[in-house]
Protein backbone atom coordinates (compact mmCIF):
# COMPACT_ATOMS: atom_id res chain seq x y z
CA UNK A 1 0.00 0.00 0.00
CA UNK A 2 1.18 3.50 -0.79
CA UNK A 3 1.04 6.26 1.75
CA UNK A 4 -1.85 8.00 -0.03
CA UNK A 5 -3.96 4.84 -0.02
CA UNK A 6 -3.36 4.37 3.71
CA UNK A 7 -4.35 8.01 4.18
CA UNK A 8 -7.50 7.41 2.13
CA UNK A 9 -8.54 4.57 4.43
CA UNK A 10 -7.90 6.68 7.52
CA UNK A 11 -9.92 9.59 6.10
CA UNK A 12 -12.75 7.32 4.96
CA UNK A 13 -13.09 5.71 8.40
CA UNK A 14 -12.94 9.17 10.00
CA UNK A 15 -15.69 10.50 7.71
CA UNK A 16 -17.96 7.49 8.24
CA UNK A 17 -17.60 7.55 12.03
CA UNK A 18 -18.17 11.31 12.20
CA UNK A 19 -21.21 11.07 9.92
CA UNK A 20 -22.76 8.39 12.13
CA UNK A 21 -22.00 10.49 15.21
CA UNK A 22 -23.61 13.53 13.54
CA UNK A 23 -26.97 11.85 13.15
CA UNK A 24 -26.99 9.83 16.37
CA UNK A 25 -25.99 12.51 18.88
CA UNK A 26 -28.72 14.17 20.95
CA UNK A 27 -27.09 17.57 21.39
CA UNK A 28 -27.42 19.97 18.47
CA UNK A 29 -24.08 21.71 19.06
CA UNK A 30 -22.31 18.36 19.10
CA UNK A 31 -24.03 17.46 15.84
CA UNK A 32 -22.68 20.68 14.30
CA UNK A 33 -19.19 19.83 15.58
CA UNK A 34 -19.27 16.32 14.13
CA UNK A 35 -20.54 17.82 10.88
CA UNK A 36 -17.45 20.03 10.92
CA UNK A 37 -15.30 16.88 11.15
CA UNK A 38 -17.15 15.29 8.22
CA UNK A 39 -16.58 18.40 6.10
CA UNK A 40 -12.90 18.62 7.03
CA UNK A 41 -12.50 14.92 6.17
CA UNK A 42 -14.07 15.55 2.77
CA UNK A 43 -11.66 18.41 2.23
CA UNK A 44 -8.88 15.95 3.11
CA UNK A 45 -10.10 13.65 0.32
CA UNK A 46 -9.92 16.54 -2.17
CA UNK A 47 -6.38 17.34 -1.04
CA UNK A 48 -5.50 13.67 -1.45
CA UNK A 49 -6.62 13.84 -5.08
CA UNK A 50 -4.56 16.96 -5.68
CA UNK A 51 -7.58 19.27 -6.02
CA UNK A 52 -6.16 21.82 -3.62
CA UNK A 53 -8.45 24.61 -4.80
CA UNK A 54 -11.57 22.50 -4.22
CA UNK A 55 -10.23 21.39 -0.84
CA UNK A 56 -9.57 24.96 0.23
CA UNK A 57 -13.04 26.02 -0.94
CA UNK A 58 -14.50 23.15 1.06
CA UNK A 59 -12.71 24.28 4.22
CA UNK A 60 -13.42 27.97 3.62
CA UNK A 61 -17.11 27.75 2.66
CA UNK A 62 -18.36 24.75 4.60
CA UNK A 63 -16.09 24.41 7.62
CA UNK A 64 -15.29 28.10 8.11
CA UNK A 65 -18.59 29.52 6.83
CA UNK A 66 -21.56 27.21 7.09
CA UNK A 67 -20.61 25.49 10.36
CA UNK A 68 -19.77 28.84 11.96
CA UNK A 69 -23.16 30.10 10.80
CA UNK A 70 -24.85 27.00 12.30
CA UNK A 71 -23.07 27.38 15.62
CA UNK A 72 -23.79 31.11 15.65
CA UNK A 73 -27.49 30.61 15.04
CA UNK A 74 -27.65 27.84 17.65
CA UNK A 75 -26.00 30.16 20.17
CA UNK A 76 -28.42 32.98 19.32
CA UNK A 77 -31.60 30.95 19.34
CA UNK A 78 -31.55 27.98 21.67
CA UNK A 79 -31.11 27.47 25.36
CA UNK A 80 -28.19 25.51 26.72
CA UNK A 81 -29.79 22.11 27.03
CA UNK A 82 -32.01 21.84 24.01
CA UNK A 83 -32.62 18.21 23.10
CA UNK A 84 -34.18 16.68 20.03
CA UNK A 85 -37.84 15.70 19.90
CA UNK A 86 -38.85 12.09 20.53
CA UNK A 87 -38.67 9.69 17.62
CA UNK A 88 -42.14 8.53 16.63
CA UNK A 89 -42.69 5.28 14.73
CA UNK A 90 -43.71 7.16 11.57
CA UNK A 91 -40.53 9.25 11.75
CA UNK A 92 -38.30 6.19 12.12
CA UNK A 93 -40.05 4.32 9.31
CA UNK A 94 -39.92 7.22 6.86
CA UNK A 95 -36.27 8.00 7.55
CA UNK A 96 -35.34 4.31 7.25
CA UNK A 97 -37.14 4.16 3.90
CA UNK A 98 -35.38 7.30 2.69
CA UNK A 99 -31.98 5.95 3.74
CA UNK A 100 -32.58 2.62 1.98
CA UNK A 101 -33.68 4.40 -1.21
CA UNK A 102 -30.64 6.68 -1.05
CA UNK A 103 -28.30 3.72 -0.54
CA UNK A 104 -29.98 1.88 -3.42
CA UNK A 105 -29.55 4.80 -5.84
CA UNK A 106 -25.95 5.25 -4.75
CA UNK A 107 -25.07 1.57 -5.17
CA UNK A 108 -26.91 1.38 -8.52
CA UNK A 109 -24.81 4.18 -10.00
CA UNK A 110 -21.65 2.87 -8.37
CA UNK A 111 -21.99 -0.49 -10.12
CA UNK A 112 -23.54 0.81 -13.35
CA UNK A 113 -20.88 3.43 -14.11
CA UNK A 114 -17.92 1.14 -13.39
CA UNK A 115 -15.97 3.73 -11.40
CA UNK A 116 -12.26 3.25 -11.37
CA UNK A 117 -11.64 0.55 -8.80
CA UNK A 118 -7.87 0.80 -9.08
CA UNK A 119 -5.79 2.21 -6.25
CA UNK A 120 -5.50 5.97 -5.94
CA UNK A 121 -2.61 7.59 -7.78
CA UNK A 122 -0.17 9.88 -6.03
CA UNK A 123 -1.65 13.35 -5.49
CA UNK A 124 -0.75 15.63 -8.36
CA UNK A 125 -1.45 19.29 -7.98
CA UNK A 126 -0.90 20.17 -11.62
CA UNK A 127 -4.19 18.47 -12.65
CA UNK A 128 -5.90 21.83 -12.66
CA UNK A 129 -4.18 25.03 -11.63
CA UNK A 130 -5.60 28.15 -10.06
CA UNK A 131 -4.88 30.07 -13.25
CA UNK A 132 -7.02 27.77 -15.39
CA UNK A 133 -9.90 27.84 -12.91
CA UNK A 134 -9.86 31.64 -13.01
CA UNK A 135 -9.91 31.67 -16.80
CA UNK A 136 -12.82 29.21 -16.94
CA UNK A 137 -14.79 31.29 -14.45
CA UNK A 138 -14.67 34.41 -16.61
CA UNK A 139 -14.68 32.96 -20.10
CA UNK A 140 -17.63 33.06 -22.51
CA UNK A 141 -16.58 29.98 -24.49
CA UNK A 142 -18.67 26.85 -24.73
CA UNK A 143 -16.93 25.61 -21.56
CA UNK A 144 -16.91 28.99 -19.82
CA UNK A 145 -18.72 29.70 -16.59
CA UNK A 146 -19.33 33.45 -16.92
CA UNK A 147 -23.15 33.20 -16.93
CA UNK A 148 -23.48 31.01 -13.81
CA UNK A 149 -20.82 33.14 -12.13
CA UNK A 150 -22.78 36.32 -12.78
CA UNK A 151 -26.08 34.66 -11.87
CA UNK A 152 -24.63 33.67 -8.50
CA UNK A 153 -23.40 37.19 -7.88
CA UNK A 154 -26.84 38.61 -8.67
CA UNK A 155 -28.32 36.08 -6.24
CA UNK A 156 -25.87 37.17 -3.55
CA UNK A 157 -26.71 40.83 -4.18
CA UNK A 158 -30.40 40.02 -3.81
CA UNK A 159 -29.66 38.27 -0.51
CA UNK A 160 -27.72 41.27 0.80
CA UNK A 161 -30.49 43.71 -0.20
CA UNK A 162 -33.10 41.47 1.43
CA UNK A 163 -31.01 41.24 4.59
CA UNK A 164 -30.69 45.02 4.75
CA UNK A 165 -34.43 45.41 4.18
CA UNK A 166 -35.22 43.13 7.12
CA UNK A 167 -32.63 44.68 9.43
CA UNK A 168 -33.30 48.36 8.59
CA UNK A 169 -34.47 50.84 11.18
CA UNK A 170 -38.20 51.41 10.88
Amino acid sequence: MDSHNIMFVILAVFIVLSSIATVTTKSIVRAATYLLFVLIGTAGLYFLMGYTFLGSVQVMVYAGGIVVLYVFSILLTSGNHEVLSKNTKLKIASSALLSVVGLGVFLFFLFKEQFKAAALGAPDESVITMDRIGRFMLSTDSQGYLLPFEAVSVLLLACIVAGLLIARKR
Binding site: V29, G55, S56, V68, F72, L75, N80, E125, M130
Partner: protein
Protein backbone atom coordinates in the same frame (compact mmCIF):
# COMPACT_ATOMS: atom_id res chain seq x y z
CA UNK B 1 25.92 35.17 -2.65
CA UNK B 2 24.41 33.10 0.14
CA UNK B 3 21.81 31.35 -1.97
CA UNK B 4 21.22 28.20 0.04
CA UNK B 5 18.36 26.05 -1.20
CA UNK B 6 16.89 24.04 1.66
CA UNK B 7 15.63 21.47 -0.85
CA UNK B 8 19.10 19.88 -0.83
CA UNK B 9 18.61 18.88 2.81
CA UNK B 10 15.06 17.55 2.36
CA UNK B 11 15.96 15.58 -0.77
CA UNK B 12 19.02 14.10 0.94
CA UNK B 13 16.85 13.05 3.90
CA UNK B 14 14.23 11.51 1.62
CA UNK B 15 16.87 9.53 -0.30
CA UNK B 16 18.39 8.35 2.97
CA UNK B 17 15.07 7.19 4.40
CA UNK B 18 13.77 5.48 1.25
CA UNK B 19 17.06 3.55 1.18
CA UNK B 20 16.29 1.76 4.45
CA UNK B 21 12.48 1.49 4.51
CA UNK B 22 9.44 1.38 2.17
CA UNK B 23 8.20 4.69 0.80
CA UNK B 24 5.12 5.03 2.98
CA UNK B 25 7.20 4.52 6.12
CA UNK B 26 9.72 7.08 4.86
CA UNK B 27 6.95 9.64 4.27
CA UNK B 28 5.46 8.89 7.69
CA UNK B 29 8.87 9.37 9.36
CA UNK B 30 9.39 12.64 7.49
CA UNK B 31 5.94 13.86 8.48
CA UNK B 32 6.65 13.07 12.12
CA UNK B 33 10.02 14.86 11.95
CA UNK B 34 8.41 17.92 10.34
CA UNK B 35 5.60 17.91 12.90
CA UNK B 36 8.12 17.76 15.75
CA UNK B 37 10.04 20.63 14.19
CA UNK B 38 6.86 22.72 13.88
CA UNK B 39 5.77 22.04 17.45
CA UNK B 40 9.22 22.90 18.81
CA UNK B 41 9.38 26.12 16.80
CA UNK B 42 5.83 26.94 17.89
CA UNK B 43 6.73 26.62 21.56
CA UNK B 44 10.05 28.46 21.22
CA UNK B 45 8.50 31.39 19.35
CA UNK B 46 5.66 31.58 21.87
CA UNK B 47 8.19 31.93 24.72
CA UNK B 48 10.20 34.55 22.82
CA UNK B 49 7.04 36.49 21.95
CA UNK B 50 5.69 36.50 25.50
CA UNK B 51 9.02 37.83 26.80
CA UNK B 52 9.09 40.42 24.02
CA UNK B 53 5.51 41.50 24.72
CA UNK B 54 6.31 42.07 28.40
CA UNK B 55 9.43 44.06 27.64
CA UNK B 56 7.82 46.13 24.87
CA UNK B 57 4.76 46.81 27.02
CA UNK B 58 7.02 47.86 29.89
CA UNK B 59 9.02 50.16 27.63
CA UNK B 60 5.85 51.90 26.42
CA UNK B 61 4.66 52.34 30.00
CA UNK B 62 8.08 53.58 31.25
CA UNK B 63 8.70 50.45 33.32
CA UNK B 64 11.44 47.83 33.25
CA UNK B 65 9.28 44.71 32.91
CA UNK B 66 10.38 41.35 34.36
CA UNK B 67 13.88 41.76 35.87
CA UNK B 68 14.17 39.35 38.84
CA UNK B 69 14.25 35.83 37.38
CA UNK B 70 17.47 35.28 35.46
CA UNK B 71 19.48 38.04 33.78
CA UNK B 72 17.05 40.81 32.62
CA UNK B 73 14.17 38.50 33.54
CA UNK B 74 14.85 36.10 30.67
CA UNK B 75 13.91 33.04 32.76
CA UNK B 76 10.58 34.55 33.86
CA UNK B 77 8.65 33.12 30.91
CA UNK B 78 10.11 29.63 31.45
CA UNK B 79 8.93 29.84 35.05
CA UNK B 80 5.45 30.85 33.87
CA UNK B 81 5.34 27.99 31.38
CA UNK B 82 6.24 25.41 34.04
CA UNK B 83 3.65 26.89 36.38
CA UNK B 84 1.03 26.59 33.63
CA UNK B 85 2.02 23.00 32.85
CA UNK B 86 1.68 21.85 36.45
CA UNK B 87 -1.67 23.52 37.13
CA UNK B 88 -4.79 21.43 37.52
CA UNK B 89 -7.32 21.28 34.70
CA UNK B 90 -10.64 21.87 36.41
CA UNK B 91 -13.67 19.96 35.15
CA UNK B 92 -16.89 21.94 35.28
CA UNK B 93 -20.22 20.50 36.23
CA UNK B 94 -23.29 20.87 33.98
CA UNK B 95 -21.29 21.57 30.85
CA UNK B 96 -20.59 19.60 27.72
CA UNK B 97 -17.16 18.30 28.72
CA UNK B 98 -16.37 16.85 25.30
CA UNK B 99 -16.81 20.17 23.52
CA UNK B 100 -15.23 22.07 26.40
CA UNK B 101 -12.06 20.00 26.07
CA UNK B 102 -12.15 19.95 22.27
CA UNK B 103 -12.38 23.72 21.74
CA UNK B 104 -8.78 24.66 22.67
CA UNK B 105 -7.46 21.91 20.41
CA UNK B 106 -9.46 23.26 17.45
CA UNK B 107 -7.97 26.71 18.01
CA UNK B 108 -4.42 25.36 18.35
CA UNK B 109 -4.77 23.05 15.34
CA UNK B 110 -5.93 25.89 13.10
CA UNK B 111 -3.09 28.05 14.35
CA UNK B 112 -0.45 25.33 13.83
CA UNK B 113 -1.67 24.54 10.32
CA UNK B 114 -1.38 28.19 9.31
CA UNK B 115 2.03 28.26 11.01
CA UNK B 116 3.09 25.45 8.66
CA UNK B 117 2.28 27.64 5.64
CA UNK B 118 5.04 30.16 6.38
CA UNK B 119 8.03 30.13 4.00
CA UNK B 120 11.11 29.98 6.22
CA UNK B 121 13.78 29.85 3.56
CA UNK B 122 14.20 28.98 -0.08
CA UNK B 123 12.88 25.40 -0.26
CA UNK B 124 12.15 25.27 3.48
CA UNK B 125 8.40 25.19 3.26
CA UNK B 126 6.04 22.65 4.70
CA UNK B 127 2.71 23.36 3.00
CA UNK B 128 3.19 24.87 -0.42
CA UNK B 129 0.09 24.53 -2.62
CA UNK B 130 -0.46 26.57 -5.75
CA UNK B 131 -3.47 28.04 -3.91
CA UNK B 132 -1.28 28.79 -0.86
CA UNK B 133 -2.82 32.11 0.22
CA UNK B 134 -6.36 30.82 -0.23
CA UNK B 135 -5.54 27.71 1.81
CA UNK B 136 -4.06 29.93 4.51
CA UNK B 137 -7.25 32.04 4.68
CA UNK B 138 -9.43 28.92 4.72
CA UNK B 139 -7.58 27.24 7.58
CA UNK B 140 -7.37 30.41 9.64
CA UNK B 141 -11.17 30.67 9.51
CA UNK B 142 -11.40 27.34 11.40
CA UNK B 143 -10.23 28.89 14.67
CA UNK B 144 -13.54 30.74 15.04
CA UNK B 145 -15.37 27.44 15.55
CA UNK B 146 -13.10 26.66 18.50
CA UNK B 147 -13.77 30.06 20.07
CA UNK B 148 -17.56 29.79 19.61
CA UNK B 149 -17.58 26.27 21.05
CA UNK B 150 -15.47 27.41 23.99
CA UNK B 151 -17.97 30.17 24.75
CA UNK B 152 -20.98 27.89 24.47
CA UNK B 153 -19.59 24.90 26.35
CA UNK B 154 -18.42 26.99 29.32
CA UNK B 155 -22.06 27.48 30.33
CA UNK B 156 -21.25 31.03 31.41
CA UNK B 157 -22.81 34.26 30.20
CA UNK B 158 -19.54 36.17 30.07
CA UNK B 159 -17.90 33.44 28.01
CA UNK B 160 -20.85 33.31 25.63
CA UNK B 161 -20.85 37.09 25.10
CA UNK B 162 -17.08 37.04 24.65
CA UNK B 163 -17.33 34.26 22.09
CA UNK B 164 -20.09 36.06 20.17
CA UNK B 165 -18.10 39.28 20.07
CA UNK B 166 -15.01 37.43 19.00
CA UNK B 167 -16.88 35.54 16.29
CA UNK B 168 -18.48 38.70 14.89
CA UNK B 169 -15.13 40.49 14.97
CA UNK B 170 -13.09 37.72 13.35
CA UNK B 171 -15.63 37.02 10.62
CA UNK B 172 -15.86 40.75 9.80
CA UNK B 173 -12.15 41.40 9.70
CA UNK B 174 -11.50 38.31 7.58
CA UNK B 175 -13.14 40.30 4.80
CA UNK B 176 -10.54 43.05 4.69
CA UNK B 177 -7.72 40.54 5.07
CA UNK B 178 -9.09 38.67 2.06
CA UNK B 179 -9.39 41.93 0.10
CA UNK B 180 -5.82 43.06 0.82
CA UNK B 181 -4.49 39.61 -0.05
CA UNK B 182 -6.47 39.78 -3.30
CA UNK B 183 -4.88 43.15 -4.01
CA UNK B 184 -1.43 41.66 -3.62
CA UNK B 185 -2.33 38.57 -5.67
CA UNK B 186 -3.21 40.98 -8.50
CA UNK B 187 0.36 42.22 -8.33
CA UNK B 188 2.11 38.87 -7.97
CA UNK B 189 -0.13 36.86 -10.31
CA UNK B 190 0.35 33.74 -8.18
CA UNK B 191 -0.99 32.41 -4.90
CA UNK B 192 1.86 30.07 -4.04
CA UNK B 193 4.06 31.32 -1.20
CA UNK B 194 7.28 29.92 -2.68
CA UNK B 195 6.60 31.62 -6.03
CA UNK B 196 5.71 34.90 -4.33
CA UNK B 197 9.00 34.86 -2.42
CA UNK B 198 11.06 33.84 -5.45
CA UNK B 199 9.44 36.63 -7.47
CA UNK B 200 10.26 39.18 -4.80
CA UNK B 201 13.87 37.95 -4.60
CA UNK B 202 14.17 38.53 -8.34
CA UNK B 203 12.20 41.76 -8.79
CA UNK B 204 12.17 43.51 -5.42
CA UNK B 205 9.78 43.53 -2.49
CA UNK B 206 6.07 43.85 -3.23
CA UNK B 207 5.65 46.91 -1.06
CA UNK B 208 8.12 48.75 -3.34
CA UNK B 209 6.88 47.19 -6.56
CA UNK B 210 3.26 48.05 -5.88
CA UNK B 211 4.06 51.46 -4.26
CA UNK B 212 0.86 53.40 -3.27
CA UNK B 213 -1.80 50.63 -3.37
CA UNK B 214 0.64 48.19 -1.74
CA UNK B 215 1.34 50.57 1.15
CA UNK B 216 -2.40 51.16 1.67
CA UNK B 217 -2.95 47.39 1.59
CA UNK B 218 -0.13 46.91 4.12
CA UNK B 219 -1.70 49.37 6.57
CA UNK B 220 -5.16 47.81 6.18
CA UNK B 221 -3.62 44.36 6.64
CA UNK B 222 -1.89 45.39 9.87
CA UNK B 223 -5.13 46.82 11.33
CA UNK B 224 -7.25 43.85 10.27
CA UNK B 225 -4.57 41.37 11.33
CA UNK B 226 -4.44 42.87 14.79
CA UNK B 227 -8.21 42.51 15.05
CA UNK B 228 -8.04 38.94 13.72
CA UNK B 229 -5.66 38.00 16.54
CA UNK B 230 -8.06 39.47 19.15
CA UNK B 231 -5.37 41.86 20.30
CA UNK B 232 -5.64 45.39 21.55
CA UNK B 233 -7.13 47.87 20.64
CA UNK B 234 -9.49 45.16 19.41
CA UNK B 235 -9.24 42.84 22.44
CA UNK B 236 -12.94 43.11 23.26
CA UNK B 237 -13.60 39.38 23.54
CA UNK B 238 -11.37 39.27 26.59
CA UNK B 239 -11.71 42.74 28.05
CA UNK B 240 -11.19 41.96 31.72
CA UNK B 241 -13.12 44.96 33.03
CA UNK B 242 -16.47 43.91 31.54
CA UNK B 243 -16.25 40.22 30.65
CA UNK B 244 -13.70 38.84 33.17
CA UNK B 245 -11.71 37.04 30.46
CA UNK B 246 -14.17 36.47 27.62
CA UNK B 247 -14.42 33.05 26.07
CA UNK B 248 -11.59 31.47 28.09
CA UNK B 249 -12.85 32.52 31.53
CA UNK B 250 -13.69 28.94 32.53
CA UNK B 251 -10.50 27.36 31.26
CA UNK B 252 -7.68 26.48 33.60
CA UNK B 253 -4.19 25.04 33.40
CA UNK B 254 -2.87 24.06 30.01
CA UNK B 255 -6.26 24.42 28.30
CA UNK B 256 -6.05 28.12 29.05
CA UNK B 257 -2.39 27.87 28.03
CA UNK B 258 -3.42 26.70 24.55
CA UNK B 259 -5.48 29.85 24.02
CA UNK B 260 -2.59 31.94 25.27
CA UNK B 261 -0.19 30.08 22.98
CA UNK B 262 -2.51 30.38 19.97
CA UNK B 263 -2.98 34.10 20.60
CA UNK B 264 0.76 34.82 20.52
CA UNK B 265 1.45 32.50 17.63
CA UNK B 266 -1.42 34.03 15.66
CA UNK B 267 0.35 37.33 16.15
CA UNK B 268 3.53 35.76 14.77
CA UNK B 269 1.68 34.13 11.86
CA UNK B 270 -0.06 37.41 11.01
CA UNK B 271 3.30 39.20 11.04
CA UNK B 272 4.93 36.37 9.07
CA UNK B 273 2.24 36.63 6.41
CA UNK B 274 2.77 40.40 6.20
CA UNK B 275 6.51 39.89 5.76
CA UNK B 276 5.94 37.18 3.13
CA UNK B 277 3.44 39.07 1.04
CA UNK B 278 4.64 42.66 1.43
CA UNK B 279 8.24 42.56 2.65
CA UNK B 280 9.75 39.83 0.52
CA UNK B 281 9.72 36.78 2.80
CA UNK B 282 13.23 35.33 2.81
CA UNK B 283 14.35 37.67 0.01
CA UNK B 284 17.15 40.04 1.08
CA UNK B 285 16.90 43.81 0.76
CA UNK B 286 18.21 44.90 -2.62
CA UNK B 287 18.83 48.56 -3.51
CA UNK B 288 19.53 49.00 -7.24
CA UNK B 289 22.87 50.71 -7.82
CA UNK B 290 24.49 49.87 -4.49
CA UNK B 291 26.26 46.66 -5.51
CA UNK B 292 28.49 46.39 -2.43
CA UNK B 293 25.52 46.82 -0.09
CA UNK B 294 23.55 44.20 -2.03
CA UNK B 295 26.44 41.73 -1.76
CA UNK B 296 26.57 42.16 2.02
CA UNK B 297 22.78 41.80 2.32
CA UNK B 298 22.80 38.65 0.19
CA UNK B 299 25.28 37.01 2.61
CA UNK B 300 22.64 36.91 5.36
CA UNK B 301 20.71 33.59 5.26
CA UNK B 302 17.07 33.69 4.14
CA UNK B 303 15.72 32.30 7.41
CA UNK B 304 17.35 35.18 9.30
CA UNK B 305 15.76 37.67 6.91
CA UNK B 306 12.36 36.06 7.32
CA UNK B 307 12.45 35.90 11.11
CA UNK B 308 13.93 39.39 11.33
CA UNK B 309 11.22 40.94 9.16
CA UNK B 310 8.56 39.03 11.06
CA UNK B 311 9.81 40.35 14.39
CA UNK B 312 9.87 43.86 12.94
CA UNK B 313 6.16 43.53 12.04
CA UNK B 314 5.47 41.95 15.45
CA UNK B 315 7.04 45.02 17.04
CA UNK B 316 4.79 47.29 14.93
CA UNK B 317 1.73 45.34 16.07
CA UNK B 318 2.81 45.50 19.74
CA UNK B 319 3.39 49.24 19.38
CA UNK B 320 -0.17 49.52 18.06
CA UNK B 321 -1.50 47.46 20.93
CA UNK B 322 0.12 49.38 23.74
CA UNK B 323 -0.57 52.82 22.25
CA UNK B 324 -4.31 52.86 21.55
CA UNK B 325 -7.13 52.48 24.08
CA UNK B 326 -9.67 49.72 23.59
CA UNK B 327 -12.59 50.30 21.20
CA UNK B 328 -16.27 49.57 21.81
CA UNK B 329 -17.90 46.70 19.91
CA UNK B 330 -20.01 49.01 17.70
CA UNK B 331 -16.92 51.10 16.94
CA UNK B 332 -15.00 47.97 15.95
CA UNK B 333 -17.73 46.79 13.60
CA UNK B 334 -18.31 50.22 12.06
CA UNK B 335 -14.55 50.67 11.56
CA UNK B 336 -14.53 47.45 9.57
CA UNK B 337 -17.75 47.73 7.59
CA UNK B 338 -17.86 51.49 6.99
CA UNK B 339 -14.18 52.28 6.50
CA UNK B 340 -11.85 49.32 5.96
CA UNK B 341 -14.00 47.27 3.56
CA UNK B 342 -14.84 50.18 1.19
CA UNK B 343 -11.24 51.38 1.39
CA UNK B 344 -9.84 47.97 0.53
CA UNK B 345 -12.32 47.63 -2.37
CA UNK B 346 -11.23 50.99 -3.79
CA UNK B 347 -7.63 49.93 -3.22
CA UNK B 348 -8.24 46.73 -5.18
CA UNK B 349 -9.53 48.78 -8.13
CA UNK B 350 -6.54 51.12 -7.79
CA UNK B 351 -4.15 48.18 -7.87
CA UNK B 352 -5.94 46.78 -10.93
CA UNK B 353 -5.53 50.16 -12.68
CA UNK B 354 -1.86 50.39 -11.70
CA UNK B 355 -1.24 46.94 -13.17
CA UNK B 356 -3.36 47.53 -16.27
CA UNK B 357 -1.41 50.70 -17.12
CA UNK B 358 1.92 49.11 -16.16
CA UNK B 359 2.66 51.71 -13.47
CA UNK B 360 4.30 49.21 -11.10
CA UNK B 361 7.96 48.33 -10.98
Amino acid sequence: MFDFDFKIVTEWLHALLTGVMPEWAAILTESILVALAIITLYAVFAIVLIYMERKVCAAFQCRLGPMRVGPWGTLQVFGDVFKMLTKEIINLRKTDMFLHNLAPFLVVTASMTTFACLPWNKGAQIIDFNVGIFFFLAISSLGVVGILLAGWSSNNKYSLIGAMRSGAQIISYELSIGMTMLTMICLTGTMSFSEICAQQAAEGWNIFRGHIPAVIAFVIYLIAGNAECNRGPFDLPECESELTAGYHTEYSGMHFGYYYLAEYLNLFICAGMASTIFLGGWAPLVIPGLEGFNEVMACIPGAVWFVGKTFFVVFLLMWLRWTFPRLRIDQILSLEWKYLVPLSMINLVLMALVIAYGLHF
